[in-house]
């Protein structure tokens, strides 16, 4: 308890992040509401950013957010500190995001097969129309480049997309990504390599 008091819960104390985090988790595991809320708020922006960037849809991102933290809430007592909390959390989040991506992918493939004979090429043309959500950031990119990025990203496999997203936008280390996805650092690295290779092939002439 002394540990909790000194390091976890007072806004004014600034102990080493790891100690603070561990204390927060332990307090939340014991049912401390404030600690749980703080714990959520340490990570929820990153989680939402990952989900939104990946899924490019507010509702889907909000669903992932909600479900992920509810799972954390229900299962926090099973967390045993044998990996970092972030890894544990991102395992949940990445599974949820992958589910959404896979569902979308299969829906899209079904419809593309119906629509055209030449699936791959046409899919790339179709996607930008589907994702017409306004995004001020994208205006910084030339229209052509933006369309091509969207096309190539949506043609990555869900896993490649996930690894790329975690590494490029979330800045996670490959080791952590491997842990979160339940695979090795090497496998995550290969996956990232395939993703960047595809992007280089698709976009190299534009940059």
């Amino acid at each position: 308890m002394t540990v909790v008091r000194e390091s976890a819960l007072s806004l004014e104390s600034r102990p080493a992040p790891e100690t603070r985090q561990t204390a927060l988790i332990r307090a939340a595991q014991k049912g401390d509401e404030l600690a749980f809320e703080r714990l959520v708020q340490c990570y929820d922006q990153g989680v939402l950013r990952l989900a939104f960037n990946l899924l490019r849809c507010s509702e889907d991102a909000a669903d992932v957010y909600q479900e992920a933290f509810l799972r954390v809430y229900r299962n926090l007592h099973t967390f045993r500190f044998d990996c970092s909390f972030q890894t544990w959390l991102y395992r949940i989040v990445s599974n949820l995001c992958l589910d959404v991506l896979r569902k979308r992918k299969s829906r899209k493939e079904e419809s593309t097969v119906l629509d055209t004979a030449d699936g791959i090429h046409d899919r790339a043309e179709v996607i930008p129309e589907e994702r017409a959500e306004a995004n001020p950031q994208r205006r910084l990119l030339s229209g052509e480049l933006q369309r091509r990025i969207e096309a190539v990203l949506s043609n990555l496999s869900p896993r490649e997309r996930m690894v790329f997203e975690m590494r490029h936008y979330e800045g996670m280390r490959l080791k952590a990504i491997g842990d979160a996805l339940g695979t090795s650092e090497e496998a995550a690295k290969n996956c990232l390599f395939r993703a960047t290779q595809k992007m280089r092939m698709a976009l190299g002439d534009l940059v």
Binding site: T2, S10, D32, L34, F52, Q66, N135, R138, Q146
Partner: protein
């Protein structure tokens, strides 16, 4: 390193995922191979273009997500609670004497059962001796001089007793030192300071003055030490506050208390402050004023 193997390393270099040796080899190759350097620069531009593709989270989305999570968890909690009351184990009669909302809580967690007012129901089970296994949630002084505590174990219960009741005292001391909630720590000290004549209470106050992370708690503890301002331990703690505390209000309070007695050690500390305090001119002025009032020299010469 060949051109082909070099190109495999480009994105790893940009992601900072190369070992020292790998990076050395790649950099050496790039210095001598114009074609690879050109490819590498293109890869950099590609990364930059991808950076700009990052979406911005719509303004209110995070707040909405947090709110609906809080609601959902609140419902889970209420569901649990109603299950328990159906079991007839606990009776929920009393509203919180302090709004939980003020603590910015997500409403979750403990089975949050309220017990009946003391006297209207069966006596709670005897409190085990180790108060440290519990968490004090609420403190309410009663006019009769009794104090009522709400304490978490796996459920919450109301304890009631005088300050001389060792169980009550133990819970309060524990809450003063260990509660995660600064509000509870302040209230514990507020109640305990009535007994600042006891060593255990004074130790708790001194410890709060020295170590509590919250300035409000430290102020309250200093207030509690006022009758013992001339005790060497108190003076030592106050001198430490004066020199190291990061809160000007707490330091000003420490000056007030210290200058109640004109003693050489205080004068030394104040003179040191006048000399060294650069950050906070208010504290410097206050020290100067206190020294003048004590007819002591402002400088040390």
């Amino acid at each position: 390193m060949t051109c082909e193997s070099a190109s495999r390393y480009f994105s790893s270099l940009l992601y900072g995922e190369l070992t020292f040796e790998e990076e050395e080899k790649l950099r050496q190759h790039l210095e001598t191979c114009a074609r690879c350097l050109g490819d590498f620069e293109r890869e950099q531009r590609l990364h930059q273009a991808l950076d700009r593709y990052q979406a911005e989270i719509p303004g209110t989305l995070l707040a909405e997500c947090r709110r609906s999570l809080r609601e959902e968890i609140g419902e889970l909690r209420n569901h649990k609670r109603s299950l328990f009351s159906k079991l007839g184990k606990f009776v929920a009669l009393r509203p919180w004497t302090r709004p939980l909302g003020a603590l910015a809580l997500i409403a979750i967690g403990f089975f949050a059962a309220r017990l009946t007012e003391p006297g209207t129901g069966p006596d709670p089970a005897p409190v085990p001796v180790e108060a440290a296994a519990y968490r004090v949630r609420n403190i309410e002084p009663k006019p009769s001089g009794r104090v009522e505590l709400v304490v978490d174990e796996t459920r919450q219960r109301v304890l009631s007793g005088g300050l001389d009741d060792h169980r009550i005292r133990e819970f309060l001391l524990m809450a003063a030192g260990n509660s995660a909630d600064p509000g509870i720590r302040v209230e514990s000290i507020e109640v305990l300071k009535e007994r600042s004549g006891s060593d255990d209470v004074r130790d708790a106050l001194l410890s709060a003055v020295r170590h509590d992370a919250n300035a409000g708690v430290r102020l309250k503890a200093i207030e509690g030490l006022r009758p013992y301002a001339d005790h060497p331990d108190t003076r030592k703690a106050l001198a430490q506050v004066l020199l190291t505390d990061n809160n000007p209000g707490v330091r000003a309070q420490a000056i007030d208390l210290l200058v109640q007695n004109r003693e050489l050690d205080v004068i030394n500390v104040l003179q040191q402050l006048v000399r060294t305090e650069e950050e906070n001119s208010y504290i410097r002025m206050r020290s100067q004023k206190a020294l003048r009032e004590m007819n002591a020299s402002v400088g040390t010469f």
